[in-house]
Symmetry: C2
Subunit: 269 residues, 2 copies
């Protein structure tokens, strides 16, 4: 999904002279070409040896293994980057094994509840943040080059430490996903309730039906930050519950409303 | 928002010979006509005396007062119905004072995060449930007539007791709203986090920025069911948190995924 969306955007914006698709399933790489996500599909990794940037868009728990395999094919000019949803452990593993290949961790904060090439849609990238997570070991020029590519496809590069990414992603993505799961499970305790679900429930149900295998790995690899975010969440839910009991919930709802407005303002800029 | 959407749908589907708009602010009623949500705007309640159905689409805490005022203008042939988000207290008050006017409680499970006539969009009604909440005091024929109108505008009538509606609405709407507020407040504890918010956070932020005055009244009027739904939610969140600690979260995520799929299946039928 993310690889296909990036490939399509790179081609549409004329950023890349050529986009090459590789997948362990050759049919998927061919499908990427048919959908306009790549110029050519290759089945031999030697054919990616001369690329300027390799985007590794594979399941989070396979990024390190796939990059390890790739590195022997790449030259020192190549920038190797991943799009995984958890950064600290991936970056820590790869910055040790990548050199002389230049590795930079990345995470486009975009997507939908689907997965695979058929769910790839470059529209979901536009205007969204693309986090880039260098460390003291990262080649500065590679960071600049990746940020330039990110801007060229209409996304906003945000440079931060891998650990900061993981804390913020736990708060804005991993915790909200788990909270949506808990909410739909509570509603399902009354089987009739699904029949009356309106737009609020629809949003939660959409989040809950995103791929379980992906989320199982994300929440495991970022467990400490996820548990910390859940503790923060419980504190805010306690505040809301107490204020309901004393008929004074509005000030908290106002603050939540303001956060929602601020966020909408950031996205529409 | 709801009144304007219903008026537009009633006119488009040719269900009503005439749709009459009344608002305490005459400019709003005129705007409804301009937007195609009504055929005429009136500023004197005597002009609604002969209507077959009156939809009272006003803030939840004003429904009873507005209906009390309206009743003296209406004939025994008129069906009086509201679109409030909490049903038991509204229905209990109105079924005592409405006769000989025939009152039926109702709640279209539809809308967006906006409010007012400018946010009215009949598209959000299509395919959605419209809960109708008769009691032992309700005229059966009025229920049938309202259900026919609901079907004619492409919505699905669901008949249930007011108390059942309020329990299910707490689980699928009121609790999820509060949970979304708690989640955006937790994220906002780290000001940088808003910058990295992706599609999951966007859904939560959209819910959190729906009108606070509306939600303050809803959560107050349905407080017992809301608190019960929050307790159920906390139980499911505890389950998820414990399973994260023992690296066994997938079965719960699978169940949440299945609820999300089931819900999507119900809506696409």
């Amino acid at each position: 999904m993310i690889g296909g969306a990036l490939g399509t955007a790179l081609r549409r914006e004329g950023v890349a002279r050529q986009v090459i698709a590789f997948d362990c399933d050759p049919a998927v790489a061919s499908r990427a070409v048919e959908r306009g996500a790549a110029d050519v599909a290759v089945s031999d990794l030697r054919e990616v040896a001369d690329t300027q940037i390799v985007f590794v868009a594979v399941p989070l728990d396979q990024i390190v293994a796939v990059c390890r395999l790739l590195i022997s094919y790449l030259s020192a000019e190549t920038i190797l980057t991943d799009v995984g949803s958890v950064k600290a452990p991936v970056v820590a593993s790869l910055e040790r094994i990548a050199p002389p290949v230049r590795f930079v961790g990345g995470h486009p904060m975009a997507g939908n509840e689907g997965s695979g090439i058929e769910a790839a849609d470059p529209a979901f990238l536009r205007g969204r943040p693309y986090v880039i997570t260098p460390t003291g070991f990262t080649d500065r020029q590679a960071v600049t080059q990746l940020a330039d590519v990110v801007r060229a496809i209409g996304m906003t590069p945000l440079v931060m430490q891998p650990e900061v990414h993981d804390r913020l992603a736990a708060l804005t993505s991993h915790m909200p996903y788990l909270v949506a799961c808990a909410a739909v499970l509570s509603a399902a305790a009354e089987p009739e309730s699904l029949g009356v679900g309106g737009p609020t429930f629809e949003g939660f149900a959409r989040i809950a039906r995103s791929p379980v295998t992906l989320w199982g790995v994300i929440t495991r690899m970022n467990r400490d930050e996820v548990l910390r975010a859940l503790r923060e969440f419980r504190g805010r839910l306690d505040d809301i519950e107490k204020s309901l009991e004393t008929n004074s919930v509005e000030p908290l709802l106002e603050r939540a409303h303001d956060v929602g407005q601020t966020f909408a303002g950031l996205r529409s800029r």
